[in-house]
């Protein structure tokens, strides 16, 4: 009873949001920089721009997936190292917090210089994906129950068997959760990296449309990035549910 009510409220909220946006745009409350939703949709679905958008989505999606793989993968690996060697824990936690606190806009110019305009989006996406996956993976590796650990102890398990047969399988739902939490950040990181002048991508669309004062295109690109981030979140939510069904 409670969940459907909440879902209904959320759906109503979404509708209200769209209506409010349309009205604000129509009535020109904030002037021409705030176009109605229908105008933005018009741009988003106009046939002559489909190739532009699909190429941008492809580029941003690729950067985000690569960033998620690299940043998320490193996050999970370091969390595994933290799990294996107890003494490293305080230092690695501090290191991860430091990476998390790095302002993307502060590091992006340096990455452009260091890695070039093609690779900077991947690098920013990796940095963005690192901390959420590290934090969730740390929790995931502790997911095995005490009773299971006791069982492995009394059965005379070696450390390697404990890791492979208990800690890793028990961590699978949590690791999927790690990717779920890291995915939106990876998309937004890729967009920010592209904004500094990548050859393709949603971030480049945002940059060029804001420089060309093409406000509807700017809004359409921002919406595209937002939807892409939420799609990433949704995709890994489904994956995480499946993993939880199988492994818990």
């Amino acid at each position: 009873m409670k969940r459907p009510t909440r879902t209904l409220q959320m759906a109503l909220g979404m509708v209200a949001l769209c209506v409010a946006w349309e009205l604000i745009g129509r009535l020109q409350v904030f002037g021409p920089t705030f176009p109605p939703l229908s105008t933005v949709f018009g741009v988003l679905f106009s046939p002559d721009r489909q190739r532009l958008f699909s190429s941008a989505i492809g580029a941003t999606g690729t950067s985000a997936v690569l960033g998620l793989t690299i940043g998320g993968g490193i996050g999970i690996l370091i969390a595994a190292m933290r799990q294996a060697i107890t003494a490293t824990r305080p230092g690695l936690d501090r290191f991860a917090a430091a990476i998390h606190a790095i302002p993307q806009i502060g590091i992006a110019p340096v990455l452009i210089v260091l890695l070039g305009r093609d690779n900077a989006p991947i690098a920013v996406a990796s940095i963005a994906a690192f901390f959420p996956s590290y934090a969730a993976a740390t929790r995931a590796f502790d997911a095995a129950l005490t009773a299971h650990h006791d069982l492995f102890t009394v059965l005379g398990s070696r450390r390697s068997n404990r890791l492979l047969m208990l800690e890793l399988p028990a961590a699978v739902p949590g690791l999927a959760d790690a990717l779920r939490l890291a995915a939106p950040g990876a998309v937004l990181g890729a967009v920010l990296g592209e904004w500094f002048g990548a050859p393709r991508g949603v971030g480049l669309l945002i940059l060029s449309s804001s420089q060309a004062y093409d406000i509807p295109l700017l809004w359409a690109s921002a919406l595209l990035a937002t939807v892409l981030a939420m799609v990433g979140f949704g995709f890994f939510t489904i994956l995480q549910r499946a993993a939880a069904r199988r492994f818990a």
Partner: protein
Amino acid sequence: MTNSHPIQVAATLDQPAISLANIGKEFNLGRRRVVTALTGVTATIERGEFVALLGPSGCGKSTLLRIISGLEKPTSGTALVEGSSPEQLISDHRLGFAFQEHALLPWATVSENIAIPFRLARRPIDRARVSELVALVGLAGFESARPKQLSGGMRQRVAIARSLALAPDLLLLDEPFGALDEITRRRLNFELARIWAETGVTTVMVTHSVDEALLLADRIIVMATNPGRIETEVMVDLPRPRTAETLGSARFGELATELIRLLDHSEPSDES
């Protein structure tokens, strides 16, 4: 995990399965607060015996079982299992253990769960033995089911089968039926009695149920709280096999009354 224990006696036939000498256990709660879980526990358990540790919660019976298993170390005193340290028994893969929480791996099937002791002992999985165990606990046909498809009672059957997989020298049961409903629990008591009769393995079981202890054990060690210690021992001279009729026998009633009296006595007057 090497043989660093100071006392290493070669196993002989006449030595007891378990000997506990003056065992004490304290838990450090931090801020200089220490709780004494066990004090002065001395006991001997013979080969092939089924002993129940019976007592109210907080009497340290589970802690004592964990010391025998090697999961905990005593603060003082020594525990010898088959003449050597509990750790030795673990590293030889000669220990079976069933927990109150079934502790089945949720991602593995019934057969895979029962076969885990083989894999952790790095031995080839004996398929015939696994199906024999599945049949022994009455789960034939459920080999490839996952734990969450099973009822609570069926999960505990799997846990019992797993604890017997390597034909252990010692079987430790920590309230294995504690989380089950009364009817299922009673049924599994009879089944465990039958399984134990077939294997004859030395068994120590923790329970707070008088009936369960009487249906299964040869001897009941009654424990008391504050601090956790052994109150007394009661020999269970009920004939085997014990069945539903045993429950109605006069001797069962006498023993139950006696045990309830002892437990009442062991409980401190104010429940704090």
